[in-house]
Symmetry: C2
Subunit: 219 residues, 2 copies
Amino acid sequence: MISQAVQDYLKSIYKLQQENPDDSVSTTDIAKDLDVSGASVTGMIKRLDTMGMVDYSSYKGVKLTEKGEKVALEIIRFHRLIETYLKEMLGFPLDKIHDEACRLEHHISEEFIERINKLLGEPKFDPHGHPIPSKDGTIIEYEEKPLSEIEPGGEYYISRLSDTDQKLLAYLELMNLMPNIKIKVIDKAPFKGPITISYNGSEKIIGNEVASNIFVKIQ
Amino acid sequence: MISQAVQDYLKSIYKLQQENPDDSVSTTDIAKDLDVSGASVTGMIKRLDTMGMVDYSSYKGVKLTEKGEKVALEIIRFHRLIETYLKEMLGFPLDKIHDEACRLEHHISEEFIERINKLLGEPKFDPHGHPIPSKDGTIIEYEEKPLSEIEPGGEYYISRLSDTDQKLLAYLELMNLMPNIKIKVIDKAPFKGPITISYNGSEKIIGNEVASNIFVKIQ
DNA sequence: CAATAAAATTAATCAAATCTAAATATTTTT
DNA sequence: AAAAATATTTAGATTTGATTAATTTTATTG
């Protein structure tokens, strides 16, 4: 059996690897992400290495092996399907689904996942706009940019909301700034100033900080 | 935080106490129920005692305190609501819900439980016929007897199916021998012989072993 | 009621996952 | 390129929950 701790480490390494695909992942980054000490990470990573989940050599960081990535994607599949289910079928608000899914993802059976996947109509994206890996571990990739980097003019679709700040998510849901909404940047004040956007037939002004957590599909 | 292990011990003690309300619960019984060594039970029970969850004195067995019983009933509430939800909303077969609920009960939030409780219409019984404790810890009690001890004649309602043997549960579901079904004992062969029953407009013959896992409401 | 069997406890270990403090590498800065 | 700063690892300890083996207590039985 793969313990919850092992699953959490693999998920974290996968995430950090995605954010920075060229470098290997440092123990400090993992420690920060999981909020544990660096020493704990070194210890766990040695275990993951002997388990064949990561490639590791002292002071050089880690990379997931194919096996490790497969396990990570399975957990991410579970996480995102549970999130989608909590939102769509149980009516959870957007800012509550991440934490709940983080706990449940480790304890739900394959059968449970298959049932909710069917009930949801085999969704391809979770409520934040993250792609849901398929059962065989393939995951949709697409180009996106934070709204804060988009110049005025042109229409875009919101692809994804960052799910790290739950309070911000609650605000975005309230504003109806959700994935698949068509959006236009009307004006962008300099020096990280406020951004005027138009969507759902009306204009709104949001801060740069908020806009940097909204991603839009490009091309 | 109350650990999963602590929750499991309290649940087990509650169950054993229900089965035999006069005696205190022995460490051996707990060990058997949880499939751990007797030494582990002694260790944990000392902890539960210092936590104020049980009353314990060496070689004399344990009894839940009011506090311990309250925690046990909370977990049982979670367990039974999850079971009901798995059956009613996700279409799980009767023999799969217990194990899944046993894992999930420790990791689901109060909010999740409240939402499914509402969606299910605040059910009073789970699919096996166990009463679901209310939020404040009250639980419906009623008189019942195993079908194997019922003499021919008279009509009864199935109140509960024993949920220990999952294969047997699958058989009972197949036979449509479910809680709230009206049933009549037509004939009972001596020496734990087969029992002829009538329900849903037809007659069936079942073994004594099977009948001893079906309980009917009396009075 | 003493001998034996069964139940329960104690003692000593183990494993997973964590921590702090100290030591060692690596990177950055001057 | 040496000094300083940062990152990483090692060493040793802790907690939780489990184990086996040995011992002690309680219950049974001839």
